[in-house]
Structure formats: structure tokens, C-alpha cells
């Protein structure tokens, strides 16, 4: 039963067009539009803390989407995603340094990251499983080393300072304004990915993942699509990295570690491998979890438990542990991720009160 896409009674599709929309029902489409409208209002609340979390969720979500296209949809693996995120961050800062307006530097950084991704992706597309994992791990270390050495590109140990975007004299200096830049990129990226997955090349990626031998019989060139997936994945990593750079205004060569790469993997596992929206849910989870841990620690601060365990000093350690534990718990109990849970909840409410 769960296999059949569930739609409410009375919601019949009268054309193939209505049957191929991103949002399965009129209501869900209305919800999505209302959701974006509501997000547009967030800056008006003036809550800087909420705003900064949302901006982080946004740029990390775009990068996670890229990784999900590679890992979740195409069935490849990458342990070097943070390094490509870093390439995007430095590239955008470099373009701005050399006179490009920030709003142009962001997509340029995406393209530059794609190019770098291709350098590693073209040989990697011929590898599978463990060998591919090792190759992407090599990319991670090579790029990290490159960041440390390529002073012209990264500023070396000093890192690189960069700017907020501006357009026609209006500067997106405040977090409130920058939020809209991130929101626009999030909307565009996720729409593009959702469209991709319902057209020829998106299906080809999933076909390569599910059964590469029959994919080949269907006329799909495996190497081309594995490389393409790497390219698209790098592009979104680059966009995410660029948005990160112009948000923090400073890019450090030490930020893009293998631990960060593993966090990206955690996001898509928690959100749901092979789910476009899951990438965003995973990013939100990964950003909010440490905040929740911090919140607990603060609430307990000074109390008996705190004194007994010395929580105050261990909070940063606790955060890392919570992330690790979350990944493991999801792998065991919810391997299809938050997106799957969300679908089940929706299906339940659609059939309510006839759920049984």
C-alpha cells in the first residue's frame, strides 16, 4: 500500500501535465508557496539569532543538495564534499578581490568549483565503492593542502576577507538583507533539482544507481552520467561555499576539514538519501541539533548535574557527540531519513480519519 502514491479522494489528475507536477496536490503546492512567503517575512521579526540559523541552513542545504545528487540519486560516494565547498568559498572571494561584483562572483564560483570537481570527477567516474571513497578522500586532502599553500588564491594562513553583495547601490550589508540572497539561491537550486529529477537526465542518474547494467541497455552512458553527477554536485557545493563566504566575510584555510565532509554526509543520511527536500531537512537538523544541545547545557548550567559532569567545559564535545549519535541512530532506525517520515505523516493525514 505504501508503494502506491497516495492522493486524497477527489483529487483526480485530468492531464499528464497535472500528473507530472513537483507538488502532487493543489494543497501541497499552496503550502509550498505559503511556506516561501512566510520565509520572506522572517527578517521582519528582527530576530538575529533565528536569522543567522536560517542563513546557515540555507547555504549548507544547497551544498547538501549537491552531495545528495551524487550520493543519494546516483549512488556514488564522496568524502570530500567540504573541500569543494571550500573551493567555492575561496573562488567567490577571489573573483570579488579581482573586481567581480559579489552577485556575479557567486555563480562564477559555482562554475569554477564544477571545473575543479571535473578534474577529480573524470577519473573518479570510473571507480566504484571503496575505490571511489578513497579517491574522493584524496581529493579532500589534496585540496586542503592546496588551500594551505596557494597563497594567491586563499590568502594562506591569514585567510581571505570578502564582502557582502550589493546591487544598483543597494548593499545587502545586514543579515536581514543577505537572508533574501540566500533564500533566492535556495529556491532556485531546489526548483532546478526537482525539475532535473523529473526529466531525462535526472532519471538517468537514478537508473545508473539502481541498475547500471540495464541503464546501459537503455542507452545510458555510465561514465558520462557519473561524471555529470560529480559536476552538478560540485556546482551546488560551490554555490553553498560562496554564500558561506559572503555571509561570514572571512574564509579560513582550516575550515574545510574531513569532519565537515562527514557532516555533509550526515545531513543527507538524516534528511534522506535520494530526496531533494530531505537535503534541506538534514541541513536544518544538523544546524539545529548543536543549538538544542547548547540549550540543554545552558538550562542545566550551575545545577547539580552540571557540577557533577562538568557540562560547561564539555559542551563543544557534547555537540560533536550528538551529531555522531544522530547519524548512527538514523542509520539504524530511520535509514530513509526525515523526508520519508514526513511523507508517512502526510499520507496519514490525507487519509485521516480513515487511516486503518
Amino acid at each position: 500500500m505504501a508503494a502506491i502514491a497516495m492522493t486524497p479522494c477527489g483529487d483526480f489528475r485530468e492531464s499528464y501535465r497535472a500528473d507530472t507536477t513537483i507538488f502532487p496536490t493543489r494543497l501541497s503546492r499552496a503550502f509550498a508557496i505559503a511556506g516561501i512567503a512566510a520565509l520572506c517575512l522572517v527578517p521582519l521579526t528582527g530576530d538575529r539569532y533565528v536569522l543567522s540559523l536560517m542563513i546557515q541552513i540555507g547555504y549548507l542545504g544547497i551544498a547538501a543538495l549537491g552531495l545528495n545528487i551524487l550520493v543519494g540519486f546516483t549512488g556514488q560516494i564522496s568524502i570530500g564534499h567540504a573541500a569543494f565547498f571550500g573551493v567555492g568559498a575561496f573562488a567567490s572571494a577571489w573573483f570579488v578581490e579581482h573586481g567581480a561584483p559579489v552577485l556575479a562572483a557567486i555563480p562564477l564560483a559555482g562554475l569554477a568549483t564544477t571545473a575543479v570537481g571535473m578534474v577529480f570527477g573524470i577519473p573518479a567516474a570510473r571507480l566504484k565503492g571503496l575505490y571511489l571513497a578513497i579517491a574522493t578522500l584524496a581529493a579532500q586532502f589534496i585540496l586542503e593542502d592546496f588551500f594551505a599553500r596557494a597563497q594567491w588564491f586563499t590568502g594562506g594562513v591569514a585567510g581571505r576577507v570578502t564582502l557582502r553583495p550589493s546591487l544598483f547601490g543597494y548593499s545587502f550589508d545586514t543579515d536581514e538583507a543577505y537572508f533574501y540572497v540566500v533564500l533566492a539561491w535556495v529556491a532556485l537550486s531546489f526548483l532546478a533539482a526537482a525539475n532535473l529529477m523529473r526529466t531525462r537526465d535526472g532519471r538517468a542518474l537514478v537508473a545508473v544507481r539502481d541498475h547500471y547494467l540495464s541503464a546501459e541497455i537503455m542507452g545510458i552512458n555510465l561514465t558520462y552520467y557519473r561524471t555529470l553527477s560529480f559536476g552538478i554536485s560540485s556546482f551546488f557545493a560551490g554555490i553553498g561555499g560562496a554564500l558561506y563566504a559572503h555571509y561570514l566575510l572571512f574564509v579560513s584555510v582550516e575550515a574545510f576539514t574531513i569532519l565537515f565532509s562527514i557532516q555533509f554526509l550526515g545531513m543527507i543520511i538524516i534528511g534522506g538519501l535520494g530526496s531533494v527536500m530531505g537535503s534541506m531537512m538534514g541541513s536544518a537538523f544538523m544546524v539545529l541539533l548543536p543549538e538544542v544541545v547548547q540549550g540543554f547545557a545552558d538550562a542545566l548550567a550551575g545545577g547539580m548535574i552540571d557540577r557533577a559532569l562538568g557540562l560547561g567545559n564539555a559542551v563543544s564535545f557534547l555537540r560533536e557527540m550528538a551529531i555522531g549519535a544522530a547519524i548512527i541512530l538514523f542509520l539504524i532506525f530511520e535509514p530513509d531519513g526525515l523526508a520519508h517520515r514526513w511523507r508517512l505523516i502526510k499520507a496519514y493525514w490525507k487519509l485521516y480519519p480513515f487511516a486503518h
Binding site: 505504501a2 508503494a3 502506491i4 502514491a5 499528464y16 501535465r17 500528473d19 507530472t20 532546478a192 533539482a193 525539475n195 532535473l196 523529473r198 526529466t199 531525462r200 537526465d201 535526472g202 532519471r203 538517468a204 537514478v206 537508473a207 544507481r209 539502481d210 541498475h211 547494467l213 540495464s214 541503464a215 546501459e216 541497455i217 537503455m218 542507452g219 545510458i220 552512458n221 555510465l222 555529470l228 552538478i232 535520494g274
Partner: protein, 273 residues
């Protein structure tokens, strides 16, 4: 049209895996419009032959000609465009995709939209193209009577339906030549009858040339125009179903020296023959 060139020709095809001779010097030709069957005991090399035609294996010796053109070394993914489609003996659907998406993958080589035009769905013509092909795919869905499972995830379907979806996906390629590797294996009588009807319709109404591997001798003899028999990688007989059945070598391969026939195949084939 060169009416006299066979649509497919295998010329002295041999295939070895180390010491195993899967095929030895097999030659045959399939005419346009034929419903052609390959039979033989388990391990006779039938699947290997189909793999040579679809490009999965490259013959150690010999050549495969499609419409007169040598395709022996052509990569499998270039054969869809020539008009060769196939199904697999062991199911090979895209398990996590819906039935509809599985079949749409069959349109891959006919679609022109790419990742860029796909991403801007409404702007670059991708939507128009996808919907046009969707309409044609619906004809295939109607033909195979799988409307009710359109949106089901392929991997969750029962065996008989999965076989049908695999056939639908192969038809979606618009092949001139379709290769069916045991399309009825594991089916009950009713499902077999349906499948036989689909195959005959494909051949007669849709105009596809069919090469079929099948163990059910009743069906093979009923619907095939011509049959070849493989045994231990060699072709031991060729002709109309009646001619082949009367052949003493065939009788021996199937019924005679029982210890030469791998266990299982005799029961499977003998029961219906």
C-alpha cells in the same frame, strides 16, 4: 530498404570464459519481422548469445551484424539508438523508481532534453517533450494492462508484474529488434498466456522482430516462426518448430543422456513438451 539483409546475423560466434566454452562457432540469421526462439537446456549458452547481441559480452571470435552492419565491438549503450532492446532473465528493473519512470527511462535515447533544459523545465521545451513522450508511454501501459500500477515503486511489485514492466520498458525504446530472455519463467499458466499474447502482438501489430529464449516448449512451439537449439554452446538444430522437434539430436539433448542435462532443466522443459 534492403529487404534481403537479415535484421540480425551471428557469424561463427564463439565465447569463452577461461576454460568454459559458453558458445562455440554459432551462426544464424534472423529475418525482419520474425518471431525467433532460442531453446536449449540450462547452461547451453542462450543468455550468453543474447548478451553478445546486446553488447554485454564481446564474442571471443566471430561477428554480430545488425542490419548488415558489424556491431561486434559496439558499446551496449550505443545499441539502443540502433534499435535493439532487451529484457533480462533475472529481473533488472530500477527498483526504487516508479513503474512510469522505469518506462520513461526506456525513452532515454529518443529524448533530447538534457540536465540544463531539464532544470529549467518550463523554459527550454523539456516539459513539452516529456509530456509528448508520456502520451506514447501511456499507450504501452494500456497495451500491457499495467495502468493500475503506474505510480507503484517497481521493486515492491510481485514477480509477474515486474516481468511485465520490464517488457514495457524494453518496448519504450522503440526497438526494431527485441530480445526476451525467459519472459515467462516463474509465471503461472494465466500469466504465461497473457505474456504469449503480448509477444505475438508485439511481433504482429507493433512490427517488432523478436528473439526469445524460453523453456516452456508449448509456448515456443505455438508462437515461434523459427527456432534454433543450443546445447553445450553449439547450435545443434535450426528450423520451424516441427522440424526442430523431430530432430534426433534435439531429442537426445532434451531427453536422452540425462546425466548431460543439468538438473532442473529436464523437468522444466520436459513437462510441457
Amino acid at each position: 530498404m534492403k529487404q534481403d539483409t537479415p535484421i540480425l546475423e551471428a557469424a561463427q560466434v564463439s565465447l569463452r570464459f577461461g576454460g568454459v566454452r559458453a558458445l562455440s562457432d554459432v551462426s544464424f540469421a534472423v529475418e525482419r519481422g520474425e518471431l525467433f526462439s532460442i531453446i536449449g537446456p540450462n547452461g547451453a549458452g542462450k543468455t550468453s548469445m543474447v548478451n553478445c547481441i546486446s553488447g554485454r559480452y564481446r564474442p571471443t571470435e566471430g561477428r554480430i551484424l545488425f542490419e548488415g552492419r558489424d556491431i561486434t565491438g559496439l558499446k551496449p549503450n550505443h545499441r539502443a539508438g540502433l534499435g535493439i532492446g532487451r529484457t533480462f532473465q533475472n529481473l533488472a528493473l530500477f527498483g526504487h523508481m516508479t513503474v512510469l519512470d522505469n518506462i520513461m527511462v526506456g525513452r532515454h535515447h529518443l529524448l533530447r532534453n538534457n540536465f540544463l533544459t531539464g532544470m529549467v523545465y518550463w523554459l527550454g521545451g523539456a516539459q513539452r517533450e516529456e509530456l509528448a513522450h508520456r502520451r506514447e508511454v501511456e499507450d504501452i501501459i494500456d497495451f500491457l494492462e499495467i495502468q493500475h500500477i503506474r505510480k507503484a515503486v517497481a521493486g515492491t511489485l510481485p514477480y509477474g508484474l515486474r516481468k511485465r514492466v520490464e517488457l514495457a520498458r524494453a518496448i519504450a525504446l522503440k526497438p526494431k529488434l527485441i530480445l526476451l530472455d525467459e519472459p515467462m519463467a516463474g509465471m503461472n499458466l494465466e500469466e504465461k498466456e497473457d505474456m504469449a499474447r503480448y509477444i505475438v502482438d508485439l511481433n504482429e501489430e507493433w512490427g517488432m522482430t523478436v528473439i526469445m529464449i524460453e523453456h516452456d516448449m508449448g509456448v515456443v512451439m505455438d508462437i515461434s516462426h523459427r527456432v534454433i537449439v543450443l546445447d553445450f554452446g553449439r547450435k545443434i538444430a535450426e528450423g520451424t518448430p516441427d522440424q526442430v522437434l523431430a530432430d534426433p539430436l534435439v531429442k537426445r539433448a532434451y531427453l536422452g543422456e540425462a546425466d548431460d542435462v543439468p538438473a532442473g532443466s529436464e523437468a522444466e522443459t520436459g513437462a510441457v513438451a
